[in-house]
Protein backbone atom coordinates (compact mmCIF):
# COMPACT_ATOMS: atom_id res chain seq x y z
CA UNK A 1 0.00 0.00 0.00
CA UNK A 2 2.81 2.36 0.73
CA UNK A 3 3.99 2.04 -2.88
CA UNK A 4 0.55 3.15 -3.96
CA UNK A 5 0.58 6.07 -1.56
CA UNK A 6 4.06 6.94 -2.71
CA UNK A 7 2.82 7.24 -6.27
CA UNK A 8 0.00 9.45 -5.07
CA UNK A 9 2.53 11.51 -3.18
CA UNK A 10 4.56 12.18 -6.30
CA UNK A 11 1.40 12.94 -8.19
CA UNK A 12 0.66 15.41 -5.41
CA UNK A 13 4.11 16.96 -5.68
CA UNK A 14 3.70 17.31 -9.42
CA UNK A 15 0.42 19.02 -8.73
CA UNK A 16 2.04 21.47 -6.36
CA UNK A 17 4.78 22.18 -8.83
CA UNK A 18 2.47 22.78 -11.75
CA UNK A 19 -0.04 24.83 -9.83
CA UNK A 20 2.73 27.00 -8.44
CA UNK A 21 3.82 27.94 -11.91
CA UNK A 22 0.30 28.02 -13.25
CA UNK A 23 0.67 31.61 -14.39
CA UNK A 24 -0.17 31.83 -18.02
CA UNK A 25 2.42 33.84 -19.85
CA UNK A 26 0.93 36.52 -22.02
CA UNK A 27 0.91 35.87 -25.72
CA UNK A 28 4.26 36.70 -27.22
CA UNK A 29 4.49 39.39 -29.84
CA UNK A 30 4.06 38.24 -33.37
CA UNK A 31 7.49 39.56 -34.28
CA UNK A 32 9.03 36.59 -32.51
CA UNK A 33 11.73 38.75 -30.95
CA UNK A 34 12.68 37.50 -27.51
CA UNK A 35 10.65 39.40 -24.93
CA UNK A 36 12.03 40.15 -21.51
CA UNK A 37 10.01 38.38 -18.84
CA UNK A 38 8.73 40.59 -16.02
CA UNK A 39 6.66 39.43 -13.05
CA UNK A 40 4.39 42.05 -11.53
CA UNK A 41 2.74 41.30 -8.19
CA UNK A 42 -0.63 42.89 -7.47
CA UNK A 43 -2.07 43.34 -4.00
CA UNK A 44 -5.47 41.68 -4.35
CA UNK A 45 -7.53 39.36 -6.51
CA UNK A 46 -7.74 40.79 -10.04
CA UNK A 47 -10.00 43.86 -9.98
CA UNK A 48 -10.60 47.11 -11.88
CA UNK A 49 -8.15 48.86 -9.53
CA UNK A 50 -5.52 46.89 -11.48
CA UNK A 51 -7.15 47.79 -14.78
CA UNK A 52 -4.31 49.89 -16.20
CA UNK A 53 -1.88 46.98 -16.09
CA UNK A 54 -4.35 44.62 -17.70
CA UNK A 55 -5.08 47.23 -20.36
CA UNK A 56 -1.35 47.51 -21.12
CA UNK A 57 -1.22 43.73 -21.38
CA UNK A 58 -4.35 43.39 -23.51
CA UNK A 59 -3.43 46.19 -25.90
CA UNK A 60 0.13 45.01 -26.32
CA UNK A 61 1.77 48.07 -24.72
CA UNK A 62 4.11 45.82 -22.76
CA UNK A 63 4.92 43.75 -25.82
CA UNK A 64 5.60 46.95 -27.78
CA UNK A 65 8.28 47.76 -25.20
CA UNK A 66 9.71 44.28 -25.59
CA UNK A 67 8.31 42.99 -22.31
CA UNK A 68 6.50 39.77 -21.54
CA UNK A 69 4.67 40.78 -18.37
CA UNK A 70 2.98 38.28 -16.07
CA UNK A 71 0.53 40.03 -13.74
CA UNK A 72 0.47 37.89 -10.61
CA UNK A 73 -2.82 37.94 -8.73
CA UNK A 74 -2.71 38.88 -5.08
CA UNK A 75 -5.16 38.09 -2.33
CA UNK A 76 -5.49 38.18 1.44
CA UNK A 77 -2.06 38.40 3.06
CA UNK A 78 -0.59 38.98 -0.39
CA UNK A 79 2.67 40.28 1.13
CA UNK A 80 3.42 42.14 -2.06
CA UNK A 81 6.55 43.78 -0.70
CA UNK A 82 8.06 40.59 0.71
CA UNK A 83 7.34 38.76 -2.53
CA UNK A 84 9.24 41.36 -4.50
CA UNK A 85 12.01 41.58 -1.90
CA UNK A 86 12.69 37.83 -2.00
CA UNK A 87 12.59 37.83 -5.80
CA UNK A 88 9.35 35.96 -6.34
CA UNK A 89 8.27 38.96 -8.39
CA UNK A 90 10.25 41.78 -10.01
CA UNK A 91 7.88 44.66 -9.36
CA UNK A 92 4.76 45.19 -7.33
CA UNK A 93 2.14 47.74 -6.37
CA UNK A 94 0.85 48.81 -2.98
CA UNK A 95 0.21 51.74 -0.67
CA UNK A 96 3.05 54.27 -0.63
CA UNK A 97 3.10 54.47 3.17
CA UNK A 98 3.72 50.78 3.41
CA UNK A 99 6.75 51.07 1.14
CA UNK A 100 8.16 53.88 3.30
CA UNK A 101 7.78 51.80 6.44
CA UNK A 102 9.19 48.67 4.78
CA UNK A 103 12.24 50.50 3.46
CA UNK A 104 12.88 51.92 6.91
CA UNK A 105 12.84 48.35 8.25
CA UNK A 106 15.43 47.30 5.67
CA UNK A 107 13.25 45.68 3.00
CA UNK A 108 15.17 46.10 -0.29
CA UNK A 109 12.54 47.77 -2.48
CA UNK A 110 12.04 51.21 -3.99
CA UNK A 111 9.13 53.18 -5.45
CA UNK A 112 9.51 53.82 -9.16
CA UNK A 113 6.25 55.62 -10.04
CA UNK A 114 2.87 56.52 -8.63
CA UNK A 115 -0.07 54.37 -9.56
CA UNK A 116 -2.65 56.54 -7.81
CA UNK A 117 -2.09 60.10 -6.71
CA UNK A 118 -4.06 59.30 -3.59
CA UNK A 119 -5.18 56.12 -1.94
CA UNK A 120 -8.77 55.04 -2.58
CA UNK A 121 -9.60 54.46 1.09
CA UNK A 122 -12.73 56.21 2.20
CA UNK A 123 -15.42 56.45 4.84
CA UNK A 124 -18.69 54.84 3.88
CA UNK A 125 -21.86 56.38 5.30
CA UNK A 126 -25.61 56.39 4.80
CA UNK A 127 -26.83 59.38 2.84
CA UNK A 128 -29.23 60.37 5.61
CA UNK A 129 -26.36 60.60 8.11
CA UNK A 130 -23.69 62.23 5.98
CA UNK A 131 -20.01 62.55 6.87
CA UNK A 132 -18.82 65.70 5.10
CA UNK A 133 -15.35 65.88 6.59
CA UNK A 134 -13.18 63.81 8.86
CA UNK A 135 -14.16 66.18 11.71
CA UNK A 136 -17.67 64.74 11.49
CA UNK A 137 -16.32 61.46 12.85
CA UNK A 138 -16.09 63.07 16.30
CA UNK A 139 -17.71 60.77 18.85
CA UNK A 140 -18.79 58.18 16.27
CA UNK A 141 -18.11 54.47 16.22
CA UNK A 142 -16.35 53.34 13.06
CA UNK A 143 -15.62 49.91 11.73
CA UNK A 144 -12.08 50.20 10.38
CA UNK A 145 -8.85 48.28 9.97
CA UNK A 146 -7.11 48.49 13.32
CA UNK A 147 -3.64 49.92 12.88
CA UNK A 148 -4.52 51.86 9.73
CA UNK A 149 -2.31 54.91 9.47
CA UNK A 150 -5.18 57.26 8.71
CA UNK A 151 -6.77 56.47 12.07
CA UNK A 152 -3.72 57.72 13.95
CA UNK A 153 -3.52 60.78 11.71
CA UNK A 154 -7.13 61.71 12.34
CA UNK A 155 -6.78 61.12 16.06
CA UNK A 156 -3.42 62.75 16.65
CA UNK A 157 -3.25 65.48 14.02
CA UNK A 158 -6.90 66.44 13.71
CA UNK A 159 -7.75 65.75 17.33
CA UNK A 160 -10.89 63.86 16.39
CA UNK A 161 -11.97 61.22 18.92
CA UNK A 162 -13.91 58.17 17.85
CA UNK A 163 -14.40 54.51 18.75
CA UNK A 164 -13.14 51.68 16.60
CA UNK A 165 -14.56 48.27 15.95
CA UNK A 166 -12.53 45.76 13.94
CA UNK A 167 -13.08 45.64 10.22
CA UNK A 168 -14.45 42.40 8.91
CA UNK A 169 -15.17 42.04 5.21
CA UNK A 170 -18.87 42.23 5.69
CA UNK A 171 -21.34 44.91 4.70
CA UNK A 172 -24.48 43.42 6.24
CA UNK A 173 -24.16 45.44 9.44
CA UNK A 174 -23.74 48.60 7.49
CA UNK A 175 -26.80 47.95 5.36
CA UNK A 176 -28.84 47.20 8.45
CA UNK A 177 -27.95 50.27 10.53
CA UNK A 178 -28.45 53.76 9.06
CA UNK A 179 -26.02 55.30 11.55
CA UNK A 180 -23.26 52.83 10.84
CA UNK A 181 -19.98 54.18 9.47
CA UNK A 182 -17.15 52.08 8.12
CA UNK A 183 -13.92 52.18 6.18
CA UNK A 184 -14.22 51.35 2.50
CA UNK A 185 -12.62 51.72 -0.88
CA UNK A 186 -14.48 54.42 -2.76
CA UNK A 187 -14.08 52.29 -5.88
CA UNK A 188 -15.77 49.25 -4.40
CA UNK A 189 -18.14 49.00 -1.43
CA UNK A 190 -20.45 51.92 -2.30
CA UNK A 191 -21.47 50.03 -5.43
CA UNK A 192 -22.52 46.84 -3.64
CA UNK A 193 -24.33 48.65 -0.86
CA UNK A 194 -26.07 50.79 -3.46
CA UNK A 195 -27.21 47.60 -5.16
CA UNK A 196 -29.06 46.68 -1.96
CA UNK A 197 -31.13 49.80 -2.37
CA UNK A 198 -29.29 51.79 0.28
CA UNK A 199 -28.50 55.39 -0.51
CA UNK A 200 -24.85 55.88 0.45
CA UNK A 201 -22.00 58.31 0.21
CA UNK A 202 -18.26 57.94 0.54
CA UNK A 203 -15.72 60.45 1.77
CA UNK A 204 -12.18 60.02 0.51
CA UNK A 205 -9.87 59.87 3.52
CA UNK A 206 -6.97 61.50 1.69
CA UNK A 207 -6.68 65.14 2.73
CA UNK A 208 -4.23 68.03 2.97
CA UNK A 209 -2.54 66.50 6.01
CA UNK A 210 -2.47 62.90 4.91
CA UNK A 211 -2.41 61.93 1.27
CA UNK A 212 -0.64 58.64 0.62
CA UNK A 213 0.19 57.54 -2.91
CA UNK A 214 -0.44 54.12 -4.27
CA UNK A 215 2.78 53.19 -6.02
CA UNK A 216 4.61 50.83 -8.29
CA UNK A 217 7.84 49.64 -6.74
CA UNK A 218 10.73 47.41 -7.76
CA UNK A 219 13.04 45.07 -5.94
CA UNK A 220 16.37 46.77 -5.27
CA UNK A 221 18.41 44.12 -7.09
CA UNK A 222 16.13 44.12 -10.11
CA UNK A 223 16.21 47.91 -10.19
CA UNK A 224 20.01 47.98 -10.13
CA UNK A 225 20.42 45.30 -12.77
CA UNK A 226 17.59 46.23 -15.14
CA UNK A 227 16.81 49.95 -14.95
CA UNK A 228 15.90 49.85 -18.65
CA UNK A 229 13.25 47.19 -18.02
CA UNK A 230 11.80 49.19 -15.13
CA UNK A 231 11.62 52.27 -17.37
CA UNK A 232 9.77 50.31 -20.04
CA UNK A 233 7.43 48.75 -17.52
CA UNK A 234 6.51 52.10 -15.99
CA UNK A 235 6.02 53.72 -19.39
CA UNK A 236 3.78 50.94 -20.70
CA UNK A 237 1.82 50.67 -17.44
CA UNK A 238 1.05 54.39 -17.32
CA UNK A 239 0.04 54.26 -20.97
CA UNK A 240 -2.27 51.39 -20.03
CA UNK A 241 -3.75 53.40 -17.15
CA UNK A 242 -4.47 56.47 -19.28
CA UNK A 243 -6.06 54.31 -21.94
CA UNK A 244 -8.07 52.30 -19.40
CA UNK A 245 -9.53 55.39 -17.76
CA UNK A 246 -10.02 57.65 -20.77
CA UNK A 247 -10.37 55.22 -23.65
CA UNK A 248 -12.29 52.00 -24.10
CA UNK A 249 -11.67 49.81 -21.03
CA UNK A 250 -13.12 46.72 -22.71
CA UNK A 251 -9.80 44.92 -23.43
CA UNK A 252 -8.72 44.98 -19.77
CA UNK A 253 -12.22 44.27 -18.50
CA UNK A 254 -12.37 41.22 -20.72
CA UNK A 255 -9.14 39.90 -19.20
CA UNK A 256 -10.37 40.69 -15.68
CA UNK A 257 -13.70 38.99 -16.25
CA UNK A 258 -11.88 35.90 -17.54
CA UNK A 259 -9.91 35.79 -14.31
CA UNK A 260 -12.86 36.50 -12.06
CA UNK A 261 -16.31 35.55 -13.13
CA UNK A 262 -17.84 37.56 -10.28
CA UNK A 263 -16.80 40.92 -11.76
CA UNK A 264 -19.80 42.30 -13.59
CA UNK A 265 -19.54 44.96 -16.34
CA UNK A 266 -21.66 47.33 -14.19
CA UNK A 267 -19.30 47.01 -11.23
CA UNK A 268 -16.22 47.56 -13.38
CA UNK A 269 -17.84 50.63 -14.94
CA UNK A 270 -18.59 51.96 -11.45
CA UNK A 271 -15.05 51.39 -10.30
CA UNK A 272 -13.61 53.18 -13.33
CA UNK A 273 -15.98 56.10 -12.81
CA UNK A 274 -14.94 56.36 -9.16
CA UNK A 275 -11.25 56.36 -10.09
CA UNK A 276 -11.99 59.25 -12.46
CA UNK A 277 -14.41 61.15 -10.18
CA UNK A 278 -11.92 61.14 -7.31
CA UNK A 279 -9.02 61.83 -9.73
CA UNK A 280 -7.18 58.92 -8.20
CA UNK A 281 -4.93 57.90 -11.06
CA UNK A 282 -4.87 60.79 -13.51
CA UNK A 283 -4.61 63.31 -10.70
CA UNK A 284 -5.76 66.87 -10.35
CA UNK A 285 -4.00 68.94 -13.00
CA UNK A 286 -4.87 72.15 -11.14
CA UNK A 287 -2.69 70.93 -8.28
CA UNK A 288 0.10 70.00 -10.67
CA UNK A 289 -0.62 66.30 -10.49
CA UNK A 290 -0.35 63.94 -13.44
CA UNK A 291 -0.35 60.23 -14.07
CA UNK A 292 2.62 58.46 -12.50
CA UNK A 293 3.99 61.54 -10.75
CA UNK A 294 5.75 61.14 -7.43
CA UNK A 295 7.22 64.24 -5.86
CA UNK A 296 10.05 64.36 -3.38
CA UNK A 297 8.26 67.16 -1.53
CA UNK A 298 5.13 65.10 -0.88
CA UNK A 299 7.11 62.02 0.09
CA UNK A 300 9.22 64.05 2.49
CA UNK A 301 6.05 65.36 4.11
CA UNK A 302 4.68 61.84 4.38
CA UNK A 303 7.85 60.49 5.96
CA UNK A 304 7.78 63.29 8.53
CA UNK A 305 4.13 62.60 9.30
CA UNK A 306 4.68 58.86 9.69
CA UNK A 307 7.52 59.58 12.07
CA UNK A 308 5.49 62.11 14.03
CA UNK A 309 2.61 59.71 14.66
CA UNK A 310 4.99 56.92 15.60
CA UNK A 311 4.43 54.60 12.64
CA UNK A 312 8.02 55.05 11.54
CA UNK A 313 10.52 54.35 14.29
CA UNK A 314 13.54 55.84 12.55
CA UNK A 315 14.06 58.46 9.85
CA UNK A 316 14.49 57.44 6.25
CA UNK A 317 15.66 59.57 3.33
CA UNK A 318 13.43 60.26 0.34
CA UNK A 319 15.97 58.88 -2.11
CA UNK A 320 16.05 55.64 -0.16
CA UNK A 321 12.31 55.06 -0.59
CA UNK A 322 11.89 56.29 -4.15
CA UNK A 323 13.68 57.00 -7.38
CA UNK A 324 12.29 59.64 -9.73
CA UNK A 325 14.19 58.81 -12.93
CA UNK A 326 11.36 56.70 -14.40
CA UNK A 327 8.61 59.24 -14.00
CA UNK A 328 7.68 60.58 -17.41
CA UNK A 329 8.46 64.21 -18.09
CA UNK A 330 5.72 66.82 -18.32
CA UNK A 331 3.50 65.76 -21.22
Amino acid sequence: MSAYLLRLFFAGLALIATSGCGQKTPAAAASGAALVKVRFQTDWFPQPEHGGYYQALAKGYYAAEGLDVAILPGGPNAQVMSSVAVGRADLGMTNGDDVIVAVARGVPIKMVAAEMQRDAQGILFHAEHPIRSLQDLQGKTIMAGAGSTWIEVVRQKLGVKFNLIPLVGDLARFVNNPEFVQQCFVTNEPYFVGQRGVSVGALLIANETYEPYRVMFAGQTFLTQHPDVVAKFVRASLRGWVDYLTGDPAPANKLLAAKRSDLTPEFMAYSIKAMNDYQLVLGNAAKGERVGLLTAARLTKQIALLQEIGVLDKPVAVNEVATFEFIPAQP
Binding site: L5, F9, S19, N77, S82, R88, A172, V193, K259
Partner: protein
Protein backbone atom coordinates in the same frame (compact mmCIF):
# COMPACT_ATOMS: atom_id res chain seq x y z
CA UNK B 1 -21.04 -2.12 8.04
CA UNK B 2 -24.33 -2.47 9.83
CA UNK B 3 -26.27 -5.58 8.97
CA UNK B 4 -29.57 -3.87 8.20
CA UNK B 5 -31.05 -0.41 7.99
CA UNK B 6 -34.20 0.07 9.96
CA UNK B 7 -36.84 2.57 8.91
CA UNK B 8 -35.76 4.86 11.71
CA UNK B 9 -32.30 5.23 10.15
CA UNK B 10 -33.87 7.29 7.40
CA UNK B 11 -37.14 8.42 8.85
CA UNK B 12 -35.94 10.09 12.04
CA UNK B 13 -33.36 12.39 10.41
CA UNK B 14 -35.84 13.21 7.66
CA UNK B 15 -38.46 14.24 10.20
CA UNK B 16 -36.04 16.27 12.30
CA UNK B 17 -34.73 17.90 9.12
CA UNK B 18 -38.23 18.86 8.03
CA UNK B 19 -38.98 20.31 11.46
CA UNK B 20 -35.78 22.32 11.31
CA UNK B 21 -36.57 23.69 7.86
CA UNK B 22 -40.10 24.52 9.03
CA UNK B 23 -38.68 26.42 12.01
CA UNK B 24 -36.26 28.22 9.72
CA UNK B 25 -39.06 29.44 7.47
CA UNK B 26 -41.21 30.52 10.39
CA UNK B 27 -38.36 32.49 12.00
CA UNK B 28 -37.88 34.29 8.73
CA UNK B 29 -41.59 35.05 8.35
CA UNK B 30 -42.15 36.05 11.98
CA UNK B 31 -38.99 38.18 12.29
CA UNK B 32 -39.46 39.89 8.94
CA UNK B 33 -35.72 39.70 8.32
CA UNK B 34 -34.55 40.25 4.76
CA UNK B 35 -32.98 37.55 2.65
CA UNK B 36 -29.47 39.00 3.03
CA UNK B 37 -29.67 38.53 6.80
CA UNK B 38 -31.47 35.20 6.95
CA UNK B 39 -32.04 33.57 3.58
CA UNK B 40 -34.57 30.74 3.49
CA UNK B 41 -33.49 27.21 2.48
CA UNK B 42 -35.37 27.80 -0.76
CA UNK B 43 -33.40 30.95 -1.52
CA UNK B 44 -30.18 29.12 -0.68
CA UNK B 45 -31.04 26.29 -3.04
CA UNK B 46 -31.97 28.82 -5.73
CA UNK B 47 -28.60 30.55 -5.22
CA UNK B 48 -26.85 27.17 -5.36
CA UNK B 49 -28.52 26.40 -8.67
CA UNK B 50 -27.87 29.87 -10.05
CA UNK B 51 -24.21 29.81 -9.00
CA UNK B 52 -23.63 26.11 -9.65
CA UNK B 53 -20.88 26.54 -12.27
CA UNK B 54 -18.91 28.81 -9.97
CA UNK B 55 -19.51 26.61 -6.92
CA UNK B 56 -18.49 23.44 -8.75
CA UNK B 57 -15.32 24.99 -10.16
CA UNK B 58 -14.47 26.34 -6.71
CA UNK B 59 -15.17 22.99 -5.07
CA UNK B 60 -12.85 21.34 -7.60
CA UNK B 61 -10.13 23.85 -6.80
CA UNK B 62 -10.59 23.35 -3.06
CA UNK B 63 -10.63 19.56 -3.50
CA UNK B 64 -7.24 19.73 -5.23
CA UNK B 65 -5.73 21.72 -2.38
CA UNK B 66 -7.32 19.46 0.21
CA UNK B 67 -6.17 16.31 -1.57
CA UNK B 68 -2.63 17.64 -1.96
CA UNK B 69 -2.34 18.53 1.72
CA UNK B 70 -4.05 15.32 2.80
CA UNK B 71 -1.75 13.08 0.77
CA UNK B 72 1.29 14.97 1.97
CA UNK B 73 0.10 14.49 5.55
CA UNK B 74 -0.66 10.80 4.92
CA UNK B 75 2.79 10.09 3.49
CA UNK B 76 4.86 12.23 5.84
CA UNK B 77 2.69 11.10 8.77
CA UNK B 78 3.36 7.48 7.89
CA UNK B 79 7.12 7.87 7.87
CA UNK B 80 7.21 10.13 10.91
CA UNK B 81 5.23 7.55 12.86
CA UNK B 82 7.57 4.79 11.77
CA UNK B 83 10.45 6.77 13.24
CA UNK B 84 8.55 7.58 16.41
CA UNK B 85 7.05 4.14 16.87
CA UNK B 86 10.24 2.21 16.46
CA UNK B 87 12.76 4.08 18.52
CA UNK B 88 12.19 5.12 22.06
CA UNK B 89 14.95 7.73 21.96
CA UNK B 90 13.70 9.25 18.71
CA UNK B 91 10.22 9.40 20.18
CA UNK B 92 11.52 11.12 23.26
CA UNK B 93 13.52 13.61 21.23
CA UNK B 94 10.95 14.46 18.56
CA UNK B 95 7.51 14.17 20.10
CA UNK B 96 7.66 17.37 22.17
CA UNK B 97 8.58 19.36 19.08
CA UNK B 98 5.78 17.83 17.08
CA UNK B 99 3.45 18.78 19.88
CA UNK B 100 4.75 22.33 19.67
CA UNK B 101 4.02 22.43 15.97
CA UNK B 102 0.54 21.12 16.64
CA UNK B 103 -0.11 23.64 19.41
CA UNK B 104 0.92 26.64 17.31
CA UNK B 105 -2.22 28.06 15.73
CA UNK B 106 -1.87 27.90 11.98
CA UNK B 107 -3.27 31.41 11.71
CA UNK B 108 -0.12 32.70 13.39
CA UNK B 109 2.04 30.84 10.90
CA UNK B 110 0.08 32.00 7.87
CA UNK B 111 2.24 34.99 6.96
CA UNK B 112 5.35 32.83 7.26
CA UNK B 113 3.83 30.05 5.17
CA UNK B 114 2.90 32.69 2.62
CA UNK B 115 6.47 33.90 2.46
CA UNK B 116 8.14 30.49 2.40
CA UNK B 117 5.75 28.32 0.42
CA UNK B 118 4.33 31.09 -1.73
CA UNK B 119 0.80 32.30 -2.38
CA UNK B 120 -1.90 30.20 -3.98
CA UNK B 121 -1.79 26.42 -4.18
CA UNK B 122 1.63 25.83 -2.52
CA UNK B 123 0.57 27.84 0.52
CA UNK B 124 -2.88 26.24 0.61
CA UNK B 125 -1.39 22.73 0.49
CA UNK B 126 1.09 23.59 3.23
CA UNK B 127 -1.68 24.86 5.52
CA UNK B 128 -3.82 21.78 4.81
CA UNK B 129 -0.85 19.53 5.51
CA UNK B 130 -0.12 21.28 8.82
CA UNK B 131 -3.70 20.87 9.95
CA UNK B 132 -4.11 17.21 8.96
CA UNK B 133 -0.65 15.89 9.80
CA UNK B 134 -0.76 15.52 13.56
CA UNK B 135 -3.84 13.30 14.01
CA UNK B 136 -2.26 10.82 11.60
CA UNK B 137 1.06 10.82 13.45
CA UNK B 138 -0.59 10.52 16.86
CA UNK B 139 -2.83 7.64 15.81
CA UNK B 140 -0.31 5.64 13.85
CA UNK B 141 2.40 6.02 16.49
CA UNK B 142 -0.05 4.76 19.07
CA UNK B 143 -0.90 1.88 16.75
CA UNK B 144 2.73 0.90 16.26
CA UNK B 145 3.16 0.80 20.01
CA UNK B 146 0.02 -1.26 20.58
CA UNK B 147 0.94 -4.43 18.73
CA UNK B 148 -0.33 -7.54 20.51
CA UNK B 149 2.52 -8.80 22.68
CA UNK B 150 1.62 -12.41 21.89
CA UNK B 151 2.17 -11.76 18.19
CA UNK B 152 5.46 -10.02 18.91
CA UNK B 153 6.54 -13.00 21.04
CA UNK B 154 5.58 -15.35 18.21
CA UNK B 155 7.65 -13.37 15.71
CA UNK B 156 10.63 -13.40 18.05
CA UNK B 157 10.28 -17.13 18.64
CA UNK B 158 10.50 -17.61 14.90
CA UNK B 159 13.68 -15.52 14.82
CA UNK B 160 12.11 -12.75 12.79
CA UNK B 161 14.49 -9.82 12.41
CA UNK B 162 13.59 -6.26 13.33
CA UNK B 163 12.46 -5.32 9.83
CA UNK B 164 10.30 -8.36 9.46
CA UNK B 165 8.69 -7.54 12.78
CA UNK B 166 7.99 -3.99 11.65
CA UNK B 167 6.82 -4.60 8.11
CA UNK B 168 4.98 -7.88 8.56
CA UNK B 169 3.54 -7.38 11.99
CA UNK B 170 3.58 -3.91 13.49
CA UNK B 171 2.58 -1.92 10.40
CA UNK B 172 -0.30 -4.20 9.34
CA UNK B 173 -1.50 -4.40 12.93
CA UNK B 174 -1.42 -0.62 13.18
CA UNK B 175 -3.41 -0.16 9.98
CA UNK B 176 -6.73 0.43 11.78
CA UNK B 177 -5.05 3.19 13.80
CA UNK B 178 -3.60 4.71 10.65
CA UNK B 179 -7.01 4.69 9.03
CA UNK B 180 -8.56 6.27 12.11
CA UNK B 181 -5.97 9.04 11.80
CA UNK B 182 -6.71 9.40 8.09
CA UNK B 183 -10.41 9.70 8.87
CA UNK B 184 -9.79 12.61 11.23
CA UNK B 185 -7.44 14.14 8.66
CA UNK B 186 -10.09 13.75 5.98
CA UNK B 187 -12.51 15.90 7.95
CA UNK B 188 -9.80 18.49 8.53
CA UNK B 189 -8.33 18.63 5.01
CA UNK B 190 -11.20 20.43 3.24
CA UNK B 191 -11.46 22.84 6.18
CA UNK B 192 -7.72 23.44 5.95
CA UNK B 193 -7.89 24.05 2.22
CA UNK B 194 -10.76 26.53 2.52
CA UNK B 195 -8.99 28.30 5.36
CA UNK B 196 -5.84 28.33 3.23
CA UNK B 197 -7.70 29.87 0.31
CA UNK B 198 -9.18 32.45 2.63
CA UNK B 199 -5.76 33.33 4.06
CA UNK B 200 -3.24 32.90 1.23
CA UNK B 201 -5.32 32.20 -1.88
CA UNK B 202 -4.81 34.26 -5.02
CA UNK B 203 -7.44 32.76 -7.31
CA UNK B 204 -4.81 32.26 -9.99
CA UNK B 205 -5.71 30.46 -13.15
CA UNK B 206 -9.15 32.06 -13.23
CA UNK B 207 -10.65 29.90 -10.49
CA UNK B 208 -10.57 30.57 -6.81
CA UNK B 209 -11.67 27.91 -4.37
CA UNK B 210 -14.55 28.02 -1.92
CA UNK B 211 -12.46 30.24 0.38
CA UNK B 212 -12.25 32.81 -2.39
CA UNK B 213 -16.02 32.65 -2.94
CA UNK B 214 -16.46 33.59 0.71
CA UNK B 215 -14.70 36.88 -0.06
CA UNK B 216 -16.49 37.37 -3.30
CA UNK B 217 -20.03 36.73 -2.05
CA UNK B 218 -19.43 38.54 1.22
CA UNK B 219 -18.23 41.78 -0.36
CA UNK B 220 -21.10 41.62 -2.83
CA UNK B 221 -23.59 40.90 -0.02
CA UNK B 222 -24.81 37.79 -1.81
CA UNK B 223 -25.73 36.07 1.43
CA UNK B 224 -27.83 33.19 0.01
CA UNK B 225 -24.86 32.33 -2.22
CA UNK B 226 -22.65 32.43 0.87
CA UNK B 227 -24.89 29.84 2.53
CA UNK B 228 -24.76 27.80 -0.67
CA UNK B 229 -20.96 27.94 -0.40
CA UNK B 230 -21.20 26.60 3.14
CA UNK B 231 -23.42 23.79 1.88
CA UNK B 232 -20.94 22.97 -0.90
CA UNK B 233 -18.06 22.92 1.60
CA UNK B 234 -20.03 20.56 3.78
CA UNK B 235 -20.70 18.21 0.85
CA UNK B 236 -17.02 18.27 -0.08
CA UNK B 237 -16.18 17.27 3.50
CA UNK B 238 -18.56 14.32 3.22
CA UNK B 239 -16.93 13.20 -0.02
CA UNK B 240 -13.53 13.16 1.66
CA UNK B 241 -14.76 11.28 4.70
CA UNK B 242 -16.67 8.81 2.53
CA UNK B 243 -13.55 8.14 0.48
CA UNK B 244 -11.57 7.29 3.60
CA UNK B 245 -14.43 5.23 5.00
CA UNK B 246 -14.38 3.25 1.78
CA UNK B 247 -10.61 2.80 2.04
CA UNK B 248 -11.10 1.67 5.60
CA UNK B 249 -13.65 -0.91 4.50
CA UNK B 250 -11.55 -2.08 1.55
CA UNK B 251 -8.46 -2.63 3.66
CA UNK B 252 -10.02 -4.01 6.82
CA UNK B 253 -13.30 -5.80 6.16
CA UNK B 254 -11.65 -9.14 5.34
CA UNK B 255 -9.77 -9.50 8.56
CA UNK B 256 -10.38 -6.89 11.19
CA UNK B 257 -12.62 -7.47 14.20
CA UNK B 258 -14.44 -4.19 13.73
CA UNK B 259 -16.17 -5.58 10.64
CA UNK B 260 -16.94 -9.06 11.96
CA UNK B 261 -18.30 -8.60 15.41
CA UNK B 262 -21.99 -8.19 16.02
CA UNK B 263 -21.74 -6.68 19.50
CA UNK B 264 -21.64 -3.03 18.47
Amino acid sequence: MKKSFSVSTWLLPAVSGLIFIGLWYSVRVVSGLQSWILPTPGEIMAAAVHEHTRLLAAAGHTALGALGGFLLAAILGFFTSLLLGLSKSLRASLYPWLLMLQMTPVIVLTPIIMLWAGPGMPGIITITWLISYFPIVANLTQGLLSTDMNHVALFRMCNANRWQEVLLLRVPAALPYYLAGLRIAATLAPIGAIFGEYMVGNASGGTGGLGFLVYSYNTQIKIPALFATALTSCLLGFVFVAAVAWLNWALLHKWHDSFERADH
